[in-house]
């Protein structure tokens, strides 16, 4: 186990290096730069800014400088948000997105797993069809539509929940609903199909033949086997959700990290692009390792090598 984790960590370093390198060169291939704006700036001023941030140097040299700084934990200053380092921005915005995203994932699990199970148990009945329709909507309807509808009905018409910001628990309800809709639907579908598969397995018949009640068969024998695909999905999904959604954050005016990804790209804020990308990549890798470990705990057949 320990050997496996060490191995995965070494691999993670290689992966993150590859992600950083590819991102670095790709973003520099994109035309434009951080200091272009509608207002004409004098060429001297632009040159001075570029010199300050080292953008006048050859690409390869900039790459080497960035990498060596990053290795020492220095991800640089934001090119657009003056006076803030990339680390400052992530440290400030990530907790907001993480709390919102974490709650959403929890909601998705709490809703998705039981509903998927119910759909499987009531296969072909009304409840199954109903859950399937909800799941299909959840997957098909884009989040900006969900957000707008929520805002219109619960925010404007019924005036139940506030529509802007994140200052009380009430503020969380609509963004959480919007963020958890898709993962809930996805988990429901995963859970339904894997549960159906498990319910048809021979060991479920054995459980029944032992005289176990339907309840015990389901919770002890079926759930642990059926939940495996959900675990695989939840890892990366958690990484994406806790780093924030641009759309949801924009609509509900939430000061989260999701917006920063897009802002950084649009503004060619090179250091912030690198910072957020490396951060997301690291999170995904960590989640995948966690998924593997949880998987091993749930299913003894898995060998971690």
């Amino acid at each position: 186990m320990l050997k496996y984790i060490v191995k995965r960590l070494l691999l993670a370093i290689v992966t993150i290096w590859a992600v950083a390198t590819i991102t670095f060169f790709l973003m520099n291939l994109v035309p434009g730069g951080p200091f272009l704006s509608e207002k004409a700036i004098s060429p001297q001023a632009t040159a001075a800014l570029e010199a300050k941030y080292g953008l006048d140097k050859p690409l390869l040299q900039r790459y080497m400088t960035y990498m060596s700084d990053a290795l020492q934990g220095d991800f640089g200053d934001s090119l657009k948000q003056r006076g803030r380092t990339v680390m400052d921005i992530i440290a400030m915005k990530f907790p907001v997105s993480a709390r919102l995203g974490g709650i959403s994932v929890l909601v998705a699990l709490i809703m998705g797993i039981p509903m998927g199970c119910i759909a499987a148990l009531k296969r072909g009945k009304f409840l199954d069809s109903f859950i399937s329709v909800v799941a299909t909507c959840g997957i098909a309807v884009p989040s900006f539509v969900v957000c707008t509808l929520l805002m219109y009905f619960f925010g404007v018409k019924l005036r139940w929940f506030p529509t802007v910001g994140l200052t009380s628990w009430k503020h969380y309800i609509m963004p959480v609903m919007a963020l958890s809709f898709y993962p809930t639907a996805y988990i429901m579908r995963l859970m339904r199909s894997s549960m159906l598969d498990v319910l048809g397995q021979d060991y479920m018949r054995t459980a029944k033949a032992k005289g176990l009640s339907g309840f015990v068969s389901l919770f002890k024998h079926a759930l642990r086997n059926a939940i495996l695909p959900v675990i695989t999905y939840v890892g990366p999904m958690l990484a994406y959700t806790v780093t924030g959604s641009f759309v949801v954050e924009k609509i509900f005016t939430i000061p989260g990290l999701g917006g920063e990804f897009i802002k950084a790209i649009n503004g060619r804020d090179y250091t912030l692009i690198m910072g957020t990308t490396i951060f997301l990549a690291t999170l995904i890798i960590v989640m995948n390792v966690l998924v593997d470990i949880v998987y091993k705990l749930v299913d003894p057949r898995i060998k971690l090598k």
Binding site: Y203, T206, A209, K210, G211, L212, K220, N225, R301
Partner: protein, 333 residues
Amino acid sequence: MAEYLVEIKNERLSFFTPAGEVKALNDVSIHLKEGEVLGIVGESGSGKSVTAYSLMGLTAYPGKLIGGTLEFNGHHIEKMSEKEMRAIRGNEISIIFQDPMTSLNPVYTIGNQIEEVILLHTDKNKKQARARARELLELVGINEPDKRLKQYPHELSGGMRQRVMIAIALACEPKLLIADEPTTALDVTIQAQILELMMELKDKLGMAIIMITHDLGVVASMCEKIAVMYAGKIVEYGTTDDIFYRPRHQYTKGLIRSIPRLDTTEHEKLVPIEGTPVDMLNPPAGCPFAPRCEECMKICLSQMPPVTEFEGCHYTQCWLIQKEEYEAEGQKG
């Protein structure tokens, strides 16, 4: 105390599928004394497993019992609620399934899966259940039981897993053990070991066994009585000697002709039963075997033959026998 441990009378069971009613069991009667071994043979879909499963209330949806009585050890199975059935399953009646590779839950240890049934049906505590599980593993001939208890199914071979299934089945000392093709998925040497083990345990524990199989060799060596099933009916029933030496039904005769024998010469061909099994959605009006029967008569196609009884418990359902008896009576009179 009733005469029989198991007494199934005129059981009718159908599967109501979207394509129509499939009469899986049509007037099946079986009885079995304590400690007896009954073999049920027949081809796939003949109703062997359904008969046994219905005794445990394990018939899968959309199967439904529509007639007959099932008595087991004084219980009327057909009238029992699901909750009452649960108290019997794994306790008084146990079952061993065909495929040991898939019949154990892959995510729990062997020990957990054996103890589960002990904890459920007895008032033993965890520690006692573990001790009993260990004892059971020894009983079914598994070496290093302490180590095995902590292992998962995938760490054991097929033969060992089937031994574990037997251990689970025997955990509460059932009065009846149903073995649903217990050796089909195992290789031949392991098959012999498992059968031997079952017979040994039967003698030790004194339970009755219903052995479901399509291997006539297995029933010949193990069973006292044999029921030959075809298309949801018992076409012939009798002691092992009756079935092997005095078969009366054409289907039984055909089955016996199709067994390879040690004394055949090299170039002798096995005689298969021609034709295909019955379409259970549209069974023929008369004897279900008639379309494949070499001696088929006109009446066979339109009417089901009545039961003809011989000495002992031997009986069959065939018009040919009726005809023979009629002719014999004609000669006498």
